[in-house]
Subunit: 203 residues, 2 copies
Amino acid sequence: MQIVASIISLDDVTKVEDVANILEFRLDLFEKIPQIGEVKQIKKSKIITVRKIDDGGRFTGNEEERLSLLKKYSEFADFVDVEFNCDEIFFDMNCRIIESYHNFDATPDYEFLKELVDNKRGDFFKIATLGKSKEDVLTLVRILSEYDDVIAFLMGEKFAFTRIMSLFLGSPFIYCHAGSSVAKGQFEVHEAFEIIKRLRGER
Amino acid sequence: MQIVASIISLDDVTKVEDVANILEFRLDLFEKIPQIGEVKQIKKSKIITVRKIDDGGRFTGNEEERLSLLKKYSEFADFVDVEFNCDEIFFDMNCRIIESYHNFDATPDYEFLKELVDNKRGDFFKIATLGKSKEDVLTLVRILSEYDDVIAFLMGEKFAFTRIMSLFLGSPFIYCHAGSSVAKGQFEVHEAFEIIKRLRGER
């Protein structure tokens, strides 16, 4: 189980490094994109993510620009986040790939999500969908109980618990924020750490 | 959502009354069974439970004695806990009934549990079974997403998170201890309260 802190500035690094195992550089949310040298010298494991507006991000460039940004930073990263519907060329990286599926309107049914996972081109598959009902939780648990390489949780404050629950069902990562939430229901990294410890009876 | 604190002595009452909504009097675990007057004067909602050894308790009397004890204390209680396989006469109480099923060896499949719930004679149905796998969590979530009057969780430290998760899936009660654990994986009542608050983003 790894705690991922999504960071949106280099100042976030010192805020989260005591508990985060991995830093996700949300380059689309950085006010000023960091120098490659600055990223390189950070010792933690890194995920490079550049989200388009359609996928909940703020990147406004074209796909060619996005690919080139991802490629450039991936040289010094452990993972690149690539959306499931990207062209094949996005999957040609020098590091491992977290293939991601986002749905801000609903949680599709189990069969739909299973097909996405079964056809994955990345190393891990990440599913983040809007939670609306207990049936969505059931769908999520069905997926999580079937795969060990799937990160899955429901977005929305009411379903924030699924972010923690999924870890206990074998999800390899939990995504947290470093002070200002990047997605609804996301926990601050120390808060997530504290909840996990308490659920494990480790305090 | 109600926090139930299982108490095993009258001294436990002051330990838990700040956060517990309901007190479960585990009369089988009391060293000295409290006077009926002592129970009567406690203002909190109450569940009366007298478990046999087979069901994880310590009551050694016969079923007639157990019934008489339950009946006597139920006069001043809000709920009595009655095991699912009890004779009909156990269901004739002057308060609401939490019908319970315990399994310390395994979690039966969904169909088995669903049949128990569908045939319930009590007001609520409580399922506490040993968790061994993710499939057991899936079974639990299937049951919880179908019913609003079912309390269900997996026993065992590895599956302690299901006690909290079930609340977020609409389970009406969470059972906690007052200082000394009554079942594996059970949370101390303040600890459960703290985790729930944090998961709700209320701190």
